[in-house]
């Protein structure tokens, strides 16, 4: 009993107000410390993942990696060239489909705002953007692989990627078009320019940089997609540029190599990952830097 009293006695001589201040200061320090830890954890995750991709991926990178097709099971060597070509071809074809549609959707929403169908277009784009990519894969499988084409084919993969890209292009371009000052449109219309000329000659050229950014962003995003390609492009270890046959892609190669039992294939998976991350991350970083400079 006496012990407790002596233990409390010294602190109780400090005025109440001071104790509260000390407690608040300590709480502040502890919480800010925890917040700092959270930040460091997030940064550490990025560093770890990128570090592994670089360290494990670099040994796979050589000339053959970019120029040769995969060697048969168990043989060391070869490369991922068919996947690389497939990814480029898929990007080109899906871009050719998605970019016009996406830009048209943005023009429709911004420039023909009064139209009755503007809101549904915008809303549909938002909803498609939120869909799991595997769902889009199932849809394109049903539409093309089973339906119009009849078998797994590169064109089906390109359409699946295009469906993923359209909302990205549409929504980014929409934001850019909204930044074009109305006075420009009005000036052109006042001079007697028809609507189409205002859009093609005034609005789009003004927003050129932003539109280009949107397209590159969408292409970069779609380059890493895997799930929809599993159900559409299927994959192919041989060189192919035939749109009606299955085609390889880097993400598909990573998947196949990652779940294989061969060490050499694991290295190839890391190498292909490094290529993807460098291209996609590089593009993303570049766009951010450019965007920030323009804002300044």
């Amino acid at each position: 009993m006496t012990v407790t009293v002596t233990a409390i006695a010294p602190t109780s001589t400090i005025p109440m107000r001071h104790r509260v201040v000390v407690r608040r200061r300590v709480a502040e320090t502890v919480i800010v410390g925890l917040l700092l830890v959270a930040t460091l954890v997030a940064v550490a995750l990025l560093v770890t993942i990128l570090g592994y991709v670089i360290l494990r991926g670099l040994p796979a990178i050589n000339v053959a990696f970019f120029t040769e097709r995969p060697k048969p099971f168990g043989e060391v060597g070869g490369g991922v060239a068919p996947g690389l070509i497939g990814t480029l071809l898929l990007a080109a074809v899906s871009g050719a489909i998605a970019i016009p549609v996406g830009i048209a959707a943005a023009i429709f929403v911004v420039e023909y705002r009064s139209g009755r169908f503007s809101a549904p277009v915008r809303f549909a784009a938002e909803l498609i953007a939120g869909l799991p990519s595997i769902v889009i894969g199932v849809f394109v499988w049903a539409l093309l692989v089973r339906g119009l084409v009849g078998h797994y084919a590169a064109i089906a993969g390109a359409v699946a990627l295009a469906v993923i890209m359209v909302p990205i292009v549409a929504r980014t371009v929409e934001e850019v078009l909204k930044l074009v000052p109305n006075s420009l449109r009005e000036a052109a219309l006042a001079l007697g320019a028809p609507r189409w000329k205002v859009i093609l000659r005034i609005v789009l050229p003004t927003a050129r940089a932003g539109v280009l950014t949107a397209c590159i962003l969408a292409l970069a995003r779609s380059a890493g997609e895997t799930a929809p390609l599993l159900l559409t492009a299927l994959g192919n270890d041989f060189f192919s540029t035939d749109l009606l046959r299955p085609i390889g892609a880097l993400p598909l190669a990573i998947y196949r190599y990652a779940i294989s039992p061969y060490d050499d294939w694991h290295t190839k998976a890391w190498g292909a990952s490094l290529v993807l991350v460098v291209v996609i991350g590089g593009v993303g970083m570049l766009l951010r830097v450019v965007a920030r400079q323009r804002v300044r």
């Binding site: 800010v32 959270a38 930040t39 940064v43 889009i136 469906v163 189409w196 997609e225």
Partner: protein
Amino acid sequence: MTRTFDRAFAAGVAALALLVPLTLAAITVLLLIDSWPSLTTFGLSYFTTTEWDPVKLVFGAAAYVYGTLVTTVVAVLLAAPVAVGAAIYLTEFAPRAVRAPIAFTIELLAYIPSIVYGLWAIFVMVPVMRSVVEPGLQVTLGQLPLIGKLFSGTPIGLDLLSGGVVLAIMILPILMAISREVLLAVPPTQREAMIGLGATRWEAVSRAVLPYARPGIIGGAVLGVARAFGETMAVTMVVGNSSRDISGSLFVPGYTMASAIANQFVEADSDLYFSAIVEIALVLLLVGIIVNGVARVLIHRSIADRPAGAVV
């Protein structure tokens, strides 16, 4: 002449633009048609039974729904504190000069493709989970009553917990980016008033800033849920893909809805089997639409103009 061309141009733009809602409609209709046999054969029992047997042609997806829910909950529970904590630190406490660069660095995580997360998870994360994290959890949290059951079984690394952890890492950047955006949109007067009354920085943040930003942060979390729900590749690679039972432990190999599609779609050899798989996709479609709608409303409400200084 010009007027005709103007009309033709408008019609062309409209035709291309209308492909967007048309695509969404086509996705819904095609998935509905293809899952119809399964919908009519199994009805609600599809969601309440766990028997998924392609030989007997009986399909119940409850175990897949369970796997998706468990991995998603684990992901949000792990990612939300880190993401929101980092967002708060980077908007309120960090030295001004490093705020944007660090936020930008964390957001780079969003540029890493799902398949690369999967690769990293298989070769780096899973061994650590198997040999360090899971045994560690067993001897600590596993000893507690009630929640101990979550950590029972042999730690194998390829299980629901690993699926949840890799999802957590993947939704972290979007959660942080949205939380940060919402916090930045809180009017400075909120903080100033509180600090003017003698509050410490944290007191100002917790009582005047966070309540104001709450709907937006919750919206970000919901959007994270939407991401986690349909995420396929990375989860498929670490979640185990074998058990079809609901056991209550996180240390069992499971299946998520998306990984079930990825794994079994190409194998489906009968119409009913195929239809049952498409029904999973239909469920993902509907949940995706609902969850995204809710998230957008919440975030929009938080960033949209409100009278300066209003505490919600």
